[in-house]
Symmetry: C2
């Protein structure tokens, strides 16, 4: 495992997206979204996925000359058609629209159809912070998760991100899959050939398993909670709400019809919509109370929780966004560690496009 400067990696991603036909502005944006995952420590959603996006493009499932447009709107809402672009390109456009609407009427809410994987949810919600707005971002995703009591995979890990602006404290930035554990955490255990805790995965019959390969062997990820006794119906509720806001509101595919991210699985032959779906929100804090009042109180909220007494042996109570922000500082300084298989993968991409890596 070697460390690479994030600037070098970002430039490489940019060059690859230019090679497949995106214009400079779009490629810059997509590279910025993708590398933000590596910087924030969400390695499963960063440059390690670049070859996956390229395979989707090779399978003609990515449009590199998209016309991303509003198909329906009111003063506070819009549906955006991503025109089969990378979600990395379509999602920031949609979030910009939400922010513009919030400037005009206090809040903006945008549901997106005909899109693809959009990177980390937190990139998009955080776009609101510079505008003194609360940002909300969610997306549906490849079906890997079973509702409580089911053996079928009907939902994605369907993350929710909420970013809240602050004064002197760092921003509150939550970004969470609605499953007990994100698939990326499972992949880490798979690489180490280690078992996973109970409550993460069920096998093909729906029985709880600690086999970290359980999902690959026909099982499913479990909704946050793990089992009914521990509230898995609540994780199932959250994943369902994300699916409905992202896709039933917009006209994207939902539930088991969501086209899989991996190019070797075909999208369902009977789609109920177009592409995958996202949902974004932006709320001006001064649409509720004077900005300074809000900022003073959110700082006070964070300070109080940061100072909470800890359980013996625990260092601190974490504020959402702390670990990712600290990781970003560290990785900007010391570089981003890439596993050897990821490096090999990127070298193949470099060869394919006549680039250096």
């Amino acid at each position: 495992m070697n460390n690479y400067s994030y600037k070098k990696l970002e430039k490489f991603i940019l060059d690859v997206f230019l090679k497949i036909g995106y214009n400079q502005e779009q490629a810059v944006l997509a590279a910025k979204v993708l590398i933000s995952a590596d910087l924030r420590g969400v390695d499963s959603h960063g440059i390690a996925r670049l070859s996956g996006y390229i395979r989707l493009w090779e399978a003609k499932r990515i449009n590199t000359n998209p016309t991303i447009k509003i198909t329906h709107e009111t003063p506070s809402t819009a549906v955006v058609d991503g025109d089969a672009a990378l979600g990395l390109v379509a999602a920031p456009k949609a979030m910009e629209i939400a922010i513009e609407k919030a400037k005009n009427v206090g809040t903006g809410w945008v549901s997106v159809k005909n899109s693809n994987h959009y990177g980390i949810a937190g990139y998009h919600s955080m776009m609101a912070l510079d505008h003194d707005m609360i940002g909300i971002s969610m997306t549906n995703a490849s079906p890997l998760v079973s509702p409580t009591f089911s053996t079928e995979r009907l939902l994605g890990t369907n993350p929710i991100s909420v970013a809240i602006p602050t004064k002197n404290q760092p921003a509150f930035v939550a970004d969470m899959a609605t499953t007990t554990a994100a698939n990326g955490k499972l992949e880490i255990l798979q690489r180490k050939k280690m078992d996973c805790p109970t409550g993460w995965v069920q096998d093909q019959s729906g029985a709880i398993t600690t086999d970290s390969f359980g999902v690959k062997n026909g099982g499913a990820l479990l909704p946050l909670g793990g089992d009914k006794e521990h509230g898995s119906h609540k994780g199932y509720i959250l994943g369902s709400i994300v699916d409905i806001f992202s896709a039933v509101l917009s006209g994207a595919n939902y539930g088991p019809w969501v086209p899989p991210f991996v190019s070797f699985l075909q999208p369902p032959a009977d789609p109920v919509g177009e592409g995958i779906g996202h949902f974004f929100g932006a709320m001006r804090v001064d649409a509720f109370r004077p900005k300074e009042e809000f900022l003073d109180h959110i700082d006070n909220w964070i300070t109080r929780f940061r100072q909470a007494e800890t359980i013996k042996g625990q260092e601190r109570v974490v504020i959402p966004g702390d670990p990712e922000r600290e990781m970003e500082l560290e990785r900007k300084k010391n570089g981003i560690p890439l596993l050897d298989p990821v490096v090999e993968d990127l070298k193949s991409l470099a060869d394919k496009f006549g680039l250096d890596f």
Copy 2:
């Protein structure tokens, strides 16, 4: 345990609220909200709480002649001052404002300060359904929940409810505490002197316990997930978002400053805001796509999930709102069962106010 007609119970609640000084319209509304909990099977939030509300009134913490008004607004947002009314009265007013704003600009978002306990979250979100809107309702609550890694009780069970209108299927109505288990479930085990599963409660030192009296003995309810390995930081995130949307946006008390529901505990001497806070949203489905399209697809979503294959031994995959709707049908027919201590409590109230029970 005897069954009582919900109409009789609703009338009794109405009479009590009239006795403490609410006008006819307000008392009718408050009774309707409170009895909806009993009808839907959320016994902990229904008529069993009536004497608790009255004790708060006796402690001069409830205003029965409130001027509930907007203190700040934009076309899509408002902050509402509940003027220390029962949440049962203030919350439906605030949700009405959200609905009116959604009629005008597509969505409406209302944060409420200076309120009190508002009954079940689901009553308020469901108000949107008749308008072909998605309804959202959340509230902060008495601090009983510790953030992951903390021994302090800094959050309430902070529920989230989302109601989604449908065509031929019954509405999708989610209503969930952001803890592993709601306090009401714990109370049931306490009455039976039974232990609770791990993941529900920690003791005073922050250690996991199965003592269902753990919270009463200085411990805390656990955020959804139970422990870090099972995603309790996600439950903590959700509870935090509810707290911030309900109180930091509005100017209510948040975190450990939320005044407790029980009258024998004094509100903190150093409040950071007024009363407790709620947050409501209403989104017109036709602000996103033509209504008929949305309704067809949400029905299709529900149908597909309802037909999902079940794990052996499980009867069905539950759609959010199914159990409560079925309970309501059953209880409207057969009456609402009340435990003997609840009946005794109501008889005392009847004596106090010169009413019959």
